[in-house]
């Protein structure tokens, strides 16, 4: 009996997740396998949705030897497909051959040694490539995201420990600490691997140059694979680019780590105040922001999901104060549209006179006084 489709509505994702009990799962599988196109569509979409959870993990390179093992397994599966090279056809020895043969053997040996050295270079370059890729994978492509909060939350330091606000504050502090640790680890790893990569590249380049000098004159015998040192030089060039890219990432990660270090210092200041900025204009979309202001005027502003602006506009922070002037610029926010971003600044004047913050869109380069739309706003209570 075919169950009516509506009974399975909302459960295809649970089936794809594997969360349904055995009996219900078997019912739904039998129904889909029975040819119901509508439910097969639902199943396909559900598998895609559930699969996106696995795809959201940060990429990580497996150890280099796994590829070699995979190739071994493939060869074992496809046994019998290897190609052997033919041996040289030696002529029968004649009077003139007694003089030629030793020279030919010497040339063969020289070319074999050269071919072995180039194969050796290829192996080293492949290993270096794998290491550079592994190191690059350690460096996050975007701002490090806070890890999940620890199971046991740190006890808030304020007497109002039972309030929801204090709990949220404790969670945010622990997330900042986790993000800092992550950024520091990524930076240190990238710096170390970039330095090692530079050293190995220099060594490889020297060895390639010495191999190139040893290429014998004339064409090697057909039994030895032709050697093209130029190919390997191009690879070394590409690897050098990878190392430079890694170094640039390490520099960016260092800057990010400094931002998080500042953010953590501000968060740990017992006199710090925190305010959430919420959207007050539709064009802000899903953007949010959070400002941490220390008693010494250091400010950490975290923005997320700010919509991209055209090249003729920028986001600008405004500080609202009890002093005169009441509104002063907090600066233009660089890279504000790049996901979650931390901006670090210092407010002028008395920090305790600051009553709130606003973010507006202004002409590129910023404005002396706000002319744009007020997009986000938050006031201390």
């Amino acid at each position: 009996m075919i169950e009516p489709c509506h009974q399975f509505e909302g459960e295809w994702e649970l089936l794809a997740l594997g969360a349904l009990e055995a009996g219900r799962g078997a019912e739904m599988r039998a129904h889909a396998a029975g040819g119901c196109a509508r439910c097969q569509d639902r199943l396909g979409a559900a598998l895609g949705l559930v699969g996106s959870i696995g795809a959201a993990l940060e990429p990580m390179n497996p150890p280099a030897h796994v590829e070699a093992r995979l190739q071994q397994r493939l060869r074992a599966l496809e046994a019998g497909t290897t190609v052997s090279r033919g041996a040289p056809a030696w002529r029968s020895a004649g009077p003139s051959d007694r003089l030629i043969r030793p020279a030919a053997v010497a040339a063969l040996v020289a070319c074999a040694v050269l071919a072995w050295r180039v194969v050796d270079q290829r192996r080293e370059i492949a290993a270096l490539r794998a290491r550079v890729e592994q190191a690059a994978a350690v460096v996050p492509r975007e701002a490090p995201r806070p890890a999940s909060p620890p199971q046991a939350l740190p006890a808030p330091s304020t007497p109002a420990a039972s309030t929801e606000a204090a709990r949220a504050w404790a969670i945010e502090r622990s997330r900042l600490a986790a993000a800092l640790a992550q950024a520091e680890a990524a930076r240190a790893s990238a710096v170390t691997e970039a330095a090692r990569g530079r050293e190995e590249l220099a060594r490889l380049e020297q060895r390639l140059a010495s191999v190139a000098r040893e290429v014998p004159n004339g064409t090697p015998p057909a039994t030895v694979p032709p050697v093209r040192v130029d190919d390997r030089t191009e690879e070394v060039g590409r690897l050098a680019n990878d190392v430079r890219r890694l170094e640039a990432q390490a520099t960016r990660e260092a800057a990010r780590a400094r931002s998080y270090a500042n953010a953590l210092q501000v968060a740990l200041d017992p006199g710090s105040r925190r305010v959430a900025l919420t959207a007050v204009d539709r064009s802000a979309g899903r953007a949010t922001a959070s400002a941490l202001l220390a008693s010494d005027g250091r400010l950490v502003l975290t923005t997320a999901d700010l919509p991209p602006l055209g090249s003729d506009k920028c986001y600008q922070l405004w500080i609202i104060r009890r002093d005169n002037p009441a509104v002063v610029s907090g600066g233009v926010l660089a890279d504000a549209s790049a996901g979650a971003v931390v901006h670090v600044a210092r407010v002028e004047g008395r920090a305790d006179a600051v009553t709130g913050f606003a973010i507006t869109d202004e002409p590129a380069g910023g404005s002396a006084s706000s002319r744009g739309r007020k997009l986000l706003f938050g006031a201390f209570r």
Binding site: L43, V50, I53, G54, M60, L77
Partner: protein, 193 residues
């Protein structure tokens, strides 16, 4: 180890899959180099043991090699299938109860229909889903992570989290609704002129 022909590095997944059907091992190795780094963290997260994760990662590509004709290779869809396969094989190794091997074979049997609605796992989608997961309430995220990475059923989740069955079902539904919304936003952005 020979280096790959430079042409393969720039070939789309569909072309590499076509080469698998004529037994071109270099194409499979290129697919491994391209997608292995997306599957490895998933498998490691599930089985945790590094050696076992390495074996399962190879199993995924060996299975792809032996079943190349089953998979539709539109850009972005192959990765979605590989992730599904990797999860099923890893959970099969973890749970050893035959349920996940059955899930894998069921999904392969329905490959034509099931692949049609897979979203393309490009950068936009991945970032959107990652953001949605990061911003889930803790209880919902923990529930969906246990279901996905530990392969727990509703009853197992309820027992593990010491929560009523209805609460667990509700948390899963809410979490999946948010993920669906995140994927829907990505599609809307793509469609808008």
């Amino acid at each position: 180890m020979e280096s790959l022909d430079g042409v393969l590095e720039h070939a789309p997944d569909s072309e590499l899959m076509a080469r698998l059907t004529v037994r071109d091992q270099r194409a499979l190795v290129e697919l491994y180099r391209r997608h292995g780094r997306r599957l490895y963290p998933l498998i490691r997260r599930i089985v945790t043991n590094e050696g076992l994760a390495e074996e399962i990662l190879q199993d995924v590509f060996v299975r792809l090699w032996t079943r190349a004709s089953l998979y539709r290779a539109d850009e972005g869809h192959l990765l979605a299938w590989l992730i599904t396969m990797a999860r099923n094989l890893a959970l099969d190794a973890l749970r050893k109860d035959g349920r996940w091997r059955g899930q894998l074979e069921f999904e392969e049997a329905l490959h034509d229909a099931a692949q049609a609605n897979h979203p393309a796992l490009d950068v936009d989608t991945t970032l959107s889903v990652r953001h949605a997961l990061d911003t889930l309430p803790d209880d919902q995220r923990r529930t969906v992570e246990l279901a996905y990475f530990a392969g727990m059923t509703h009853a197992e989740l309820a027992a593990h989290l010491n929560q009523p069955l209805g609460t667990v079902k509700s948390r899963l539904r809410l979490a999946l609704d948010k993920l669906r919304g995140a994927l829907g936003n990505v599609r809307q952005v793509r469609v808008a002129p």
